[in-house]
Symmetry: C2
Subunit: 216 residues, 2 copies
């Protein structure tokens, strides 16, 4: 079992390297096997296609990211600070830039949608926990934390995805600013308590900003 | 020009019939030409692939739907009634059931995402107009109607799409109910003024409910 896991890891590491190097488009299972340093037959023992390798790589990367997010509700800080920490972890960031960009290629839309749905389903319970804590602390008001969390995470995942909507700097800032207001009002939070979502310096410190703001 | 337009319409009509009949999977350009009653060469004069025909069919169907929605802000009724009318038109519905189901097949995810993005971009300005009217009537409060509209339409398009998230009856009702509350609070609307969104009888009267509630 240990060995099997190692070979799978080798294949996924190879796929990750190929995507990072910008060589994933048109690359064959043969080439993946070569980079992994194993035979093509071995690759086909674990995966039926390149697409399956790619999806599994996204699941693996994703698992690490969700784990980092899951730690946030368990820390000893206030709910509003946890909201900021989750926002930061989410955009600093889920997948890393090269995996993110690869996902946004037109031919990878099928994979993209699956990853976004998985993202929403994984992050919703984490945000819900934080909302519940905010209610207990008396800084938020919300009777249906699971559903509210689900709605908010949906907006983060889809509306701010550069692979779905073309965004420019001003539009992104305006949308984030409006969304901060929607969330503050919906949660009856103190006005300005989510202002980090529209703080340009804070946003520029996040890795995702290089995509949002077309920095290099 | 007239003739060209007619041939294109024949091709799209054929594609629509094939999808309605449940025969679109694996159907070839040859078969589309046969149903359209024209030569295969003629089809290739207008379209490079079956995918292009399908996309164009969605654009055409979509155009009619968006037009029906665009008429709503121009009517003589109150803003809150227009919100209900838009909701009803949206779910009663954008594409028709067979086109909707076809879009939700795993192999059509690329097309699905394009259609959803187009949906959000088309409906946002319509909802924004209605929000502005509500502000003028003094029943809504909102400084950024374009952005608020964009956020709300994003939730409608993605979170309630059975092709992205698996929904059951209770989850759908809970989510719609929570979303009505999020919107009411975010827009400072009277409590209960969006209660049609959680009214089961009203929802069951919409064509989309047969997908949401797994009727039929």
């Amino acid at each position: 079992m240990g060995k099997r896991k190692d070979k799978k890891a080798l294949i996924l590491d190879a796929m990750e390297k190929i995507i990072s190097d910008g060589n994933a488009e048109g690359c064959s299972v043969d080439e993946i096997a070569k980079v992994a340093g194993i035979g093509k037959g071995s690759v086909y023992y674990y995966y039926r296609s390149k697409r399956e390798i790619e999806m599994d790589l996204y699941f693996r990367t994703f698992g690490g990211f969700v784990e980092r997010c899951q730690n946030i509700p368990e820390t000893e800080i206030k709910a509003m600070e946890k909201l900021k920490a989750l926002f930061k972890t989410y955009y600093d960031q889920a997948l890393g830039l090269s995996l993110d960009s690869y996902l946004h290629l037109p031919q990878n839309m099928d994979m993209h949608q699956k990853v976004l749905a998985l993202l929403v389903e994984s992050i919703t319970p984490i945000l819900s926990k934080i909302l519940k804590q905010g209610v207990e602390e008396g800084v938020l008001d919300c009777d249906a934390p699971d559903e509210f969390a689900n709605i908010f995470v949906c907006v983060f995942a889809f509306l701010f995805d550069p692979g779905i909507f073309t965004l420019n700097v001003d539009e992104t800032l305006n949308k984030l600013s409006a969304f901060a207001e929607v969330m503050e009002r919906a949660l009856k939070a103190k006005k300005g308590s989510l202002s980090f979502m529209r703080d340009k310096d804070f946003l520029l410190s996040l890795k995702k900003s290089s995509i949002w703001f077309q920095l290099d």
